[in-house]
Point group: C3
Chain length 373, copies 3
C-alpha cells in the first residue's frame, strides 16, 4: 500500500455517525477496552490533588496518592452508591469522605471508617474498597483502562514511544486548557485532524504558515497515525514566531517541523519545537463530542518574566473553532437520507487507515449491527 | 425479624433507578394501582374550586362538586380529546366548558350541552360523561386511584389510621407549599426520608434538635413505615421553639416527639406537636421526581395576630434542599457502571422494608425485566 | 354519503398522535411519497437564488438555475457528506462550493471541480453530481417529491387545478411570512383548518366576518378537500375591508367568498378576493409541527403608494395563534390514557374525509403497527 494513496477507499456509511446502538457498542468495545487519555500529571501537584473525569455514565476520580503515584477510582461510595467528590478538581486532605453518611476511604481506596456499621452482623470493611480503574502514566500523560484484561501498555504503545520521547512531555506544565462542545461524531473530529486537504478553505491563517501538501506520514496503519509537516516560520502561532525557547532535546532537523499524531481512540498530540498541544477527545453521544485542548510549555519558559503563550493559544483556538464548525456541517449532511459514502483523495490516506483501525476494533460487534442503519 | 436490623439486606440493583422500562412498569403497576396522594381539602373552599394534578401523561381535574363532595375526572373533553382546564387551580362557575367547541359538562361530569350535535344521527349525550377517577378523602387528604379494581381504602389504610387521628389533619389549613424538582429516582427520595443515619453529615441544624439515633419504628413492614423521634426543643423549627399552640388532641407524651411516616408510594407525613408537614412525591422519569411540600396549621393558630409559620417553613425548606442534594448525588453514582448494591446498616432497616414492599408491588412484572439492566 | 354528515365517524386512536413509530411511518410513507409544498416562486428572483428546506433529517437546497428553472438538491457534498449551504436563503454566484474541501458544483448539480482528486486512480467526476429531488411548479407553488416513482403531478392535482386557476397565484408576490412552532401533531393542525365548528368559541373576531355554518364543501373526498365560505364584509381582515383591489380574474360571484382548501399532506390554500394566504405544514415530531404562513398579493397592488397588507396579516396572525393554542390543548388531552375516540359532528365531515385519506396513505403500514398503541 502506498503511503499517500487512499487506494479507492471511501467514507463510512451513515449508521456509524448516527446510530445510538453503534455508539453504545463503541463505548463498550472501544472506549472501555482501549487505553484512553485523561489528563497531564502537572495537574496533580501533591498527594490528594484530584480531577474528575467522565466517560459515558462513569465518573472517575483520578488522584495522586500518599506515595506520589497516580490512582483512579470510580467516584462512587460502596454504601449506597453516592457520588463522593463533586467539584471537577480539588485537593483532598488524605481521605475521601462520602457526603451522605460519612463513609471514609483512604487515597489508596481502602475503607477507613463506616459509622454505625460496626454493630452490623457480618460487616467486613475489607470487602468495600473503592473500585479502581487501571492507570498508566506515559510521558506524563495519564491513560485509563476500564477493561479487566487491559494488556501491556508498553507493548501497545511501542510504535509511537520513541517518536515522542524527545519532547519530554512529562517535564512540561499545562498553561491553559479550553473545552469545546462539538455537535459532531467523535470520528469526524479524528478525521478532521488527520488531513490538511481542508486547510486552504478552512484555515487561511494556518495555510500561510504550513503548505498543506508538505507533510509526511511516518505512522500509516494501526492505532497511531501521523507525522511531520513543514513550518514556514518558527512555530505555529499567530505571527509564526516562537513563543518560548526550543525544547531542550529538540534537534536542528525538527526546528522547522510540527508533528501531528493521533492515538486511537482519545488523543491528538501536536508537537512543536517550543511547545506541545494535546487534544483530549470524549464521545458524549453519536452527534456530540467534548474536546479539551491543552497547551504545555517547559517550566523554564514559564518562569521567564516575558513569557507569553497567548500567540500559540489564540492561533490554535481559532483553528480549533474553524475545524469544529466544518465537523458540525459534516455531521448534519451525513445525517441526511441522501448521504452515501464518498471517495477519499490521496491526501486523506490516514482517514482510510483510521477507518480500518476502527472497523477492526468494532469487528466483534459488526454482525449484530448488520441491520442497524 | 428484629425491629432495628437490616439483616444483611442491601440496596437495589442499578436498573431499578435508571431503566425506562422499569419506570414504565412502576407507573403501570404501582402509581396506577395504589391510592396516591393528590392534595389537602383545604384547597377546595367551595363548589367549583379545582386543582389540576399530573400523573405520567394523565392530567386530573380534582374539584368540589355541588354536594360539597370531592370528585376527580380526566381533564379531557369527550369530543376530540381537548384538555378542558388550563390553569393549575381555579374556580369553576358550576360547569366545565371545553375551550375548543364548547362542549359543556356539569361538576358531576355529565355532558350538559354539545353544540351542533343534536342533529347527528344516533348521538346520545349520556354516552359522553367525563371519565372519572376514584377518590377517597382520608383525614382531609385526597387520594386518587386509577385502577378499576381499587379495593377498600379503609381496609388498606387500617394499619396507620389510628396512629394519625389525633392530629385531626382534616381540620388544618395549608399555609404554604413549595414544589421541588429533584434529579433523582423517587425511591431514593423515599429512602432518604426513611433514615436519620445521614443527619449528622447532611443536616447540622436538624441534628441539634433531634438526636439521630433517638427513634422508634412503630410500623416496620408493608406500605406504612415509620414512628417517632425525640425533639430536644419544642418543635422542629429554626430555633427549636413552637410556632403555634399544641394541636388540640395532642397528649403530653407526644409533646417532645415528631412522627415520621411514609405511605407507599406517594406521601410522607411529618407530625409535629404544633403543625403537620406533608410531602407529595411524584415520579416524572427514572431520574426526576417532583416533590411538593406543604405546611398545615390549625385555623385558630392561623387567625392569631402574631401567627408566623416562617420558622417551621424555613427549617424544613433548608432540610429539604439538603436532602434533595444528596439524593441527586446518589442518582449520579448509582448510574455508574461501577455501582453494585451496598449493605444497609441497622439504622436503615426501614429502607430494607421499603424495598421489600416495592418488590412485592412489582412482583408480577419481575420476570419480564430479568434482562433489562 | 351526504356532503355534510360525518356518518358516525369518530376521531383517530391515540397512537396516531403520539407514537414515534407511526410518525416514522408517516415520514416514509406520506411525506416522502406525496408531493409536498416547499415555497412560492416569488422567492427566487434570478438564477442562483436559493432557499433551504428541511424535511425530517433531510435538508433540501431549492434554487433557480441558469435556464430560470427551479431545481432541488440534497444539500450534501458528494465527497464527505458536508452540508453545502448554511444560510436559510441567499444568492449563489453560479456555483455551489463545499466549505470543507472546496468541491464545486454547478447550479444543475454537476461536479465542476474537486481539488486534488485529479490524481486519484479511477476518480470520475461524472459519478458525483448533487443528488436531485423531483420538483413541480404548480400555480407558482413549488412542490417536491422524494419518491423515485413520483408519478404524474398533473394527474394527481387534476381535481383541484381548475378550482384555483382564477387567482393566478403564479403572478402574486409574497409580502410576509411567519413561522410558528406548534406543540401538536400535524394532523390536528389539518383538522383544525378543516372545520369552523370551533369558530364561535375560538375566533370571536373571525366569527363576526363569516357565519360559521355558511360553508360549502366542493371537494369532499381524497387529497383535496374544501370549498367556500360566505364573507359578510369585503375580505378577511381586521376591519372586514379589502386591503387590495380584487384580483384580475375574480368574478363577481366570488367577491363575497373566501375559499379554504387543504392539499394532503402539506398545504392549506386560503383564497380571498384580494389576496391569497398559504400555510405550509411540516411535521417535526409526533407532537411538534412547524407551520409557515405566507401572504401573497398582486404586484400591481404592492406597488401602489398606499398599499398596506397589515390588516390581513394581523387578522390571520391572531387567528393562527388562537388555532395553534387549541391544537396544543388537544395534543395534551389526546396524550392522556383516558382519551378515547370521540364522535364527529356533521360540521366535521371533512375531518372524517381527511382521516380516510390518511388511513389509505398509511394502509401498507397498518399491519405492522397493529400493536403500537
Amino acid at each position: 500500500m502506498d503511503a499517500r494513496s487512499a487506494n479507492g477507499a471511501g467514507t463510512l456509511p451513515r449508521k456509524y455517525f448516527t446510530s445510538p446502538k453503534i455508539f453504545a457498542a463503541e463505548l463498550r468495545d472501544i472506549l472501555r477496552k482501549r487505553w484512553i487519555y485523561a489528563g497531564h500529571v502537572s495537574h496533580f501537584e501533591k498527594p490528594g490533588s484530584y480531577l474528575l473525569y467522565q466517560v459515558g455514565q462513569d465518573n472517575i476520580l483520578i488522584l495522586r496518592d500518599e506515595e506520589n503515584g497516580i490512582r483512579a477510582f470510580h467516584n462512587v461510595c460502596r454504601h449506597r452508591g453516592t457520588q463522593l467528590c463533586e467539584q471537577s478538581e480539588g485537593q483532598l486532605d488524605g481521605r475521601i469522605q462520602c457526603p451522605y453518611h460519612g463513609w471514609t476511604f483512604g487515597l489508596n481506596g481502602s475503607l477507613l471508617g463506616a459509622p454505625n456499621m460496626r454493630d452490623c452482623a457480618g460487616f467486613d470493611p475489607n470487602r468495600y474498597p473503592l473500585i479502581s480503574v487501571a492507570v498508566h502514566v506515559w510521558n506524563g500523560l495519564i491513560f485509563l483502562n476500564f477493561s479487566e484484561r487491559a494488556g501491556s501498555f508498553e507493548q501497545a504503545f511501542a510504535p509511537i514511544s520513541d517518536r515522542v520521547a524527545r519532547w519530554q512531555i512529562f517535564d512540561l506544565k499545562s498553561v491553559r486548557q479550553i473545552t469545546y462542545e462539538v455537535q459532531a461524531n467523535w470520528k469526524l473530529v479524528f478525521q478532521n485532524y488527520s488531513e490538511c486537504y481542508h486547510c486552504p478553505k478552512v484555515h487561511p491563517a494556518l495555510s500561510k504558515l504550513t503548505p498543506y501538501r508538505a507533510s509526511l506520514n511516518y505512522l500509516r496503519e494501526g492505532p497511531f497515525l501521523g507525522g511531520p509537516m513543514q513550518i514556514l516560520g518558527e512555530s505555529m502561532t499567530m505571527d509564526g514566531r516562537s513563543c518560548a525557547a526550543t525544547l531542550p532535546y529538540i534537534e536542528k532537523e525538527d526546528q522547522r517541523l510540527v508533528y501531528y499524531y493521533t492515538i486511537f481512540p482519545s488523543i491528538f498530540l501536536t508537537l512543536h519545537p517550543d511547545y506541545v498541544m494535546v487534544h483530549r477527545c470524549r464521545p458524549v453521544s453519536p452527534d456530540h463530542t467534548r474536546i479539551t485542548c491543552e497547551w504545555l510549555f517547559h517550566p523554564e519558559a514559564i518562569t521567564k518574566p516575558d513569557f507569553d503563550p497567548s500567540s500559540a493559544i489564540e492561533f490554535w483556538d481559532l483553528t480549533n473553532r474553524q475545524d469544529w464548525h466544518v465537523c458540525e456541517l459534516s455531521q448534519r449532511g451525513i445525517s441526511s437520507s441522501a448521504y452515501t459514502p464518498g471517495p477519499y483523495s490521496d491526501l486523506e490516506s490516514l482517514l482510510a487507515a483510521f477507518d480500518r483501525e476502527y472497523l477492526r476494533a468494532m469487528h466483534q460487534t459488526q454482525r449484530e449491527f448488520a441491520l442497524a442503519d
